[in-house]
Symmetry: C2
Subunit: 415 residues, 2 copies
Amino acid sequence: MRQSELFTKTLKDDPKDEVSVNAKLLTRGGFVYKNSAGVYTFLPLGWRVIQKIAQIIREEMNAIGGVELFMPALVEKKYLDASGRWDVPIGFDVKGKKEKNPGFALGWTHEEVLTEIASKYVSSYQDLPFAAYQFQTKFRNEPRAKSGLLRGREFMMKDLYSFHESEEDLSRYYEEVKKAYLKIINRCGLKAIYTTAAGGDFTVSNTHEFQVEAEAGEDEVILCRLCNFAENKEISKEKAGGKCPKCKAGVLEKINAIEVGNIFPLGTKYSEAFNLKFKEKSGESKYVVMGSYGIGVGRVMGTIVEVWNDEKGIVWPDSVAPADVHLLMIGGQEKELQKAADDTYNKLVKAGVDVLYDDRGTSAGEKLFDADLIGIPLRVVISEKTMVQEKVEVKERSKKEVKLMKVEELIKSLK
Amino acid sequence: MRQSELFTKTLKDDPKDEVSVNAKLLTRGGFVYKNSAGVYTFLPLGWRVIQKIAQIIREEMNAIGGVELFMPALVEKKYLDASGRWDVPIGFDVKGKKEKNPGFALGWTHEEVLTEIASKYVSSYQDLPFAAYQFQTKFRNEPRAKSGLLRGREFMMKDLYSFHESEEDLSRYYEEVKKAYLKIINRCGLKAIYTTAAGGDFTVSNTHEFQVEAEAGEDEVILCRLCNFAENKEISKEKAGGKCPKCKAGVLEKINAIEVGNIFPLGTKYSEAFNLKFKEKSGESKYVVMGSYGIGVGRVMGTIVEVWNDEKGIVWPDSVAPADVHLLMIGGQEKELQKAADDTYNKLVKAGVDVLYDDRGTSAGEKLFDADLIGIPLRVVISEKTMVQEKVEVKERSKKEVKLMKVEELIKSLK
């Protein structure tokens, strides 16, 4: 992609209305635009990151047998009345211009909708187990939406729901999802702490969170770095400085963390509400046992920025970067240099490299400054100086050293 | 994909609450599920079709220089106040549980949001032209949502907006989009009639619609089949039976049609509302000239079903089918047959063929009935009879003849 075709621009100064690191850097880099508190547009560069994260999640969901579907955002009152969740304070009401009472809520999670759908198709043990997921914009009326992508009122989530014959089968699948989530978060360049948390409204068992250590995190986790024992402080009986109750060796710490995902054993709460039953082999009729599993796609993006940045800007992990290579043409507007830069761009694209090409007529200083801010893993400069040697200058965003190499060598090194 | 992993099932009977052909067939085939009037879930098979249509659109939008982004569904009141569209009857209001007055509408189109964003980045003629698009769920409070995917209250749309220095440059791009739209609709297996329509609220010029001839169409078009003159009946001065005013040779017909896309020259209406100006080379300050262009992704899907069906079910065009091949294992539960069917499935998948594999333990009749209903272009049967010949039985959904061939031959023929 040519940078001149992007309509967005980087900003020199931090936006005045943002306090979080992720919102500041993502706004300055031209990744997001704030339309309202907690409501963001994903600009072209930002949307590329979201799509890369979503693709990683999709691959891992498919690998554990999830089938993708797409449910509506408009959730009719009857669904939430059935589960008793119509009146939760984070819900947004929707009504037509001339209607007196709202007929819909904006879905903030979709247990009700999918359980009702499942009740139309599931009748026998042969129909179980199955798991279905979607990527969807969710809505929550958050009173404090000040953390950029970490806590939005509108945000993209991947939500997976699983349906089982028994608690045992749910437990088996819960472990599979746990592994898939750890893999996803790892592939996104983050390290997840698997944390035991409160049971929440709809389950007696504990739920589990995938927490990423970060100063900006609103959650507090009691952690043993030796054996990975971790409990959300809200439920933990342990204290920082104490001995780990699991390995009896480590010393517990209290850390700040961002919850990027969570998984819930739901039991039969929703299958009872929607009469989702199945016939066992024996003929006995039973309620389906369910689990639900969420990852905030935008929140993963915000967390990556919170963790991967330096004083100059963002330092994207390869797997989720908006491009593999940031190609900068540096120097005057000489035709020869422009041609060499265009040729290099075409060669890279032809070799299947995802390139952001800074072909703008701006100064060297501005281009280098922007490249650091935008944070693409590999910066490739072509200038008069490199051109006479028929080479390009290559620098990793996370390192200081600079190398001169032929484009062919660069392409080879990327494979 | 194995059919046994889908949690959905086909239905024997038409749903009682649907009148349109597309809703009946898509519901029976397990492509969609109606949650509320005009509000549908795309089940796994249906979501595959949506993704294929979206990918065709994406490729053609990128080919004309569009950059993809993603704007919010929550559109704050200030945006629609600025353009005077807060009170339009099709708008849905959104409010928090404890709020008295709605602070947001659900976006049914995004001229306001993108114009405001553009006003933060565009300052010079050098920043123009550009075009940005998104795939997004839109919301319209339709009073009569009875046509399945043809008229939803919640529906997926691709909306593109373009920004220009002058009316001339807009006209140039408008022609490019027109060609891209005709190509998209053609690639989806449909034939578009480029139709002149009313100017609408926000433009003095005419707008243009992409109409597809279909009995179920709610629009009426005055058409000359000789020279493709076409006007929406709402604005046409011509009558059916009259002579074509353009070629002076054809006889005009009045046909029913479905509007799958439309394009609007917007002039400076929104750039004036959001003070989106740019400096010309001469230094003069001018309002940006805009265009907007929409295609209903779900509506394209519904239209395809209205056009491509027979008494047995849907007949998907290759380009948008939920899979290339529907592989049916027919016969008993013999291990040898199961193994042969599994082998065939694995061979096809390995060769990059997109297969729906009916591995269920149901009867031959049921499987053949379902295959016709679901409508995948190629049906491949493996049974005791074909197995002894080391072949499979291949039938195109749209034809009657049946061929026996080796799997290797089949794979070759698909390339």
